[in-house]
Symmetry: D2
Subunit: 313 residues, 4 copies
Amino acid sequence: MPDDDDSSSAKAYLTGNLIYTESVTKTYYITVVVEKVLYTGKTRYQRAGVVVTPDLGKVLLLDGITQLSVSDEYIYHDNLVHPIMLSHPNPRKVLIIGGGDGGTLREVLKYKSVEKATMVELDPGVVDICKKYLPEVNAGAFDDPRTNLIFDDGRKYIETTDEKYDIVLIDLTDPVGQAAKLFTKEFYMSVKNVLNEGGGMATQSESAFFYKNIFATIRKTIATVFKHVSSTLAFMPSYGMLWAFTVASDYFNPAEISIDVIKARYERNKLQTRYYHPKMHQAMFILPKDLEEFLEKNDLPISTDEKPVSIET
Amino acid sequence: MPDDDDSSSAKAYLTGNLIYTESVTKTYYITVVVEKVLYTGKTRYQRAGVVVTPDLGKVLLLDGITQLSVSDEYIYHDNLVHPIMLSHPNPRKVLIIGGGDGGTLREVLKYKSVEKATMVELDPGVVDICKKYLPEVNAGAFDDPRTNLIFDDGRKYIETTDEKYDIVLIDLTDPVGQAAKLFTKEFYMSVKNVLNEGGGMATQSESAFFYKNIFATIRKTIATVFKHVSSTLAFMPSYGMLWAFTVASDYFNPAEISIDVIKARYERNKLQTRYYHPKMHQAMFILPKDLEEFLEKNDLPISTDEKPVSIET
Amino acid sequence: MPDDDDSSSAKAYLTGNLIYTESVTKTYYITVVVEKVLYTGKTRYQRAGVVVTPDLGKVLLLDGITQLSVSDEYIYHDNLVHPIMLSHPNPRKVLIIGGGDGGTLREVLKYKSVEKATMVELDPGVVDICKKYLPEVNAGAFDDPRTNLIFDDGRKYIETTDEKYDIVLIDLTDPVGQAAKLFTKEFYMSVKNVLNEGGGMATQSESAFFYKNIFATIRKTIATVFKHVSSTLAFMPSYGMLWAFTVASDYFNPAEISIDVIKARYERNKLQTRYYHPKMHQAMFILPKDLEEFLEKNDLPISTDEKPVSIET
Amino acid sequence: MPDDDDSSSAKAYLTGNLIYTESVTKTYYITVVVEKVLYTGKTRYQRAGVVVTPDLGKVLLLDGITQLSVSDEYIYHDNLVHPIMLSHPNPRKVLIIGGGDGGTLREVLKYKSVEKATMVELDPGVVDICKKYLPEVNAGAFDDPRTNLIFDDGRKYIETTDEKYDIVLIDLTDPVGQAAKLFTKEFYMSVKNVLNEGGGMATQSESAFFYKNIFATIRKTIATVFKHVSSTLAFMPSYGMLWAFTVASDYFNPAEISIDVIKARYERNKLQTRYYHPKMHQAMFILPKDLEEFLEKNDLPISTDEKPVSIET
């Protein structure tokens, strides 16, 4: 509850205000002052909270872990959606696993080429809370006639569906507990199985600095299933971390598609984006030297159903 | 003082340990657990501390503000030094303003072409502390015969020296108090004044997310003095921020130099770098769409001696 | 939002929950986990919040400073009200300055002898918030026909009223800013002025450990106006401090009244109390040796309108 | 490292300084700014640290838990030692279990009547650290010829020694892990076993507010072994808690010994104390009404070797 009127003063706001502390690692945290609490409660699966903060605007917390803020969700969603969508010549059917806030769906529906966007989310409570308190994130996407919203376990859905997709987008929380089975070789094989010819997938792939091993494991695991794998990085202030996103396909390497082709697709779909623009398309796949070398040379085991990658918390 | 032996446990370390909290903004902080305290004391100009942390390794704090950590200083120094040094065909004389830890000097001296590196640092105490507790940062740079270390006020030096330089590197703390006068139009004109024909400068230019206005003001101010201005961004975990670095010259636009030329210079100097590699040279200057647009269209005033840009603290 | 079901686990709750930090001093703080936020907003005079915490239950915060918790308000109110009320043979008219939560009023109205309880509170908003979110604190006191609630400045009221009182209870926030003028010699003289023969006053008098000087100054100032002055101490968990309460009268010294007399008054009024009982009446006025000596020998100046005692914040 | 010169400023010190956070409960903490770190390391049994803080002075931390501060250790030691020592007509032989800092020993040796003070401490490292960094706490007590310092397990010692004592003082850390066996009925029976006729024991007995159940269990357990049991309470700022101390004897009830007798013993021994004085001797045993009722009526199980009381952490 910092006062608007003295925003220019030198006063610290760590006392006299509600705050929340997010564990980046067990020995590195971010602490954020809360101006207002819009909601706290429980869904069937998790505790949920929506708070307003001076720097990040509205923030969604699930089980006490930051899921998104309205100030930087566009960075996340642009990195997850556009590099792969623009790498495909004509994505018509898209599957989203997770993504309960609707931001990924919103970006997918910007494509005129998209005929059907199926979103499989476990927790209806999250969708309800986001619709009510964070409507600007889905921006009407849940009401789009092309949207097919299914409440189900993503792993189960992908293993049993008969549908095929041009693009699969994996928009999940951290590989902790049950969620870990959505980061395994077996899961990625199921994803490949539902892809049409010419298709590809993208997933958030954790932090490239504090959880370099987790990122590398996810990427290496995906590389055992798909021919081309590449990643982009973006700083997410609400997470306090440099976040990685990984794109995979048997048919295309996004980093090798010419800017002119990307630009044409961008314009044909009349896209409006905030973070992504075509001229950065190839550039974003060039990783720092040390990270590139680490990804190439590490001897980490891949993630399997038997031994899934997992973040200790 | 977290125990090594139970590093795999789920225990939180916010209690039972020394910690420090760094103010990113007045309502967003990072908190870091301290394993060991190597030094606390005062130089002539400021309080100084060197602590060991589990995630960042050794950290240097001046007046309670994080200056560098051994885990990510290479990201900072690679961004500050190599994009501009490799944009110049043959940098022989380099001036560093600030940079008391010696990391910038270390990177500059990697160039075989460099004949003399003059470093003007205000606080001898910082150099002493860094030599003693953070020797891996300067890595012997202070003993290099090409090094010319001067303890003086950077602004005063640059206004009075008769020497000319190929490259000027500005490696300073935040524009707070006295330091603000090293971020003004008048200062950048003095910098231009000491440049040889073909020369250029680079400076750290604050955070591109939480202090977008400060970054934009610095860049805009530099653009009133130099013909070509471009910036790179890098996430600095020890600052908890996406950091901006700005390169300026009347003679070259680094983003337009071909990768082949950059590669040749890199190899000719037999450079070894950790973060930077030639193939990212052009890519790193492509900024996100919204930031690029903000930098082009903002109506922020420029920073002058009369009204310098300043971070309120 | 800690879970009830795992209350026995070893998990720390500093992350993943809302918390608030109360500044005890500038270098000593208490931090409390918040389970639920009942209210945040502004009255005409101050920011207000009501939160639920696991250890303290509901907590009222004004301008970010803890005012009371339902778990320990009875300790505060018993110390403020009963030592003086039972030291008077027959208190019929009582004046309360401040006390917007209604807890002091509640304790006063327990006395059958009380015919009229006038409460002068500056901020109607505080009364409204407490009635709505903390009804157990006033416990119906605001609806008692003997209650005379006036919204006014306490200092102004006491200087202009024609009414006389047997007991005056001063239940105020810290001596900061405007409130400081309710801790001066001139104010206590005005209080004396509205007292009936045989009457006395009691006031909260800040912390006896971290703000020993403030406590001693208040007590010394009162001692320039009243013949008998004595104090009790009680630990307030919600403040994280040992709190002092001071009783003053020209007619009685509460510590010298026999337990039998106190017991008889307690029974005659059919009192029910939680913290106070007659057998502790004399004992509570015996202070630790070092504090007693400090109160006797300090050379602190007294608090006057010209130079009021004040807590720096 | 807050600056002395601006101690009057309104600046907060939560950022820009080392701090430590002490867990009072899992949802209530105290946070203390550290000015200087004197020592961090490990003994054979535990991690140890000695830091300097603005409000508490030097603080000793063991395994990250506050053991004592030089600003309030006298409150603890006066409550543990003098109420029982003065309740005995002529204590000549005293046994201290724990008490590695030497403060309890120091108070015991103030008695001219004491001929031998045996102290059984588990961890020689703690004694070494306290001698070096906190010499004012033992104040030469370890060099007193009457001192008999033994490094051993307290439980084992008391079960095997042939010596008898007039007073046993139990000065231990919290009942966690191994230490829990020093809070059981079997242990108190062993204590009784080493007491001379006319003797008694005293122990710290945890917090009376946040750990009321633990305190009540310890007291109830002692009451199954000794005829008279009574307690005193004192606020310990360095713990952030109201601390309880419990006295037990088959021969005397300290609360019933007349002040005149106590005074005579105090003077005969030429005692100098800071917190305790004879006139508070009876008063300190009168507990608040609700706590007294809770101690009388609770149905908590007693603590036994099979099921010892224990604080979950």
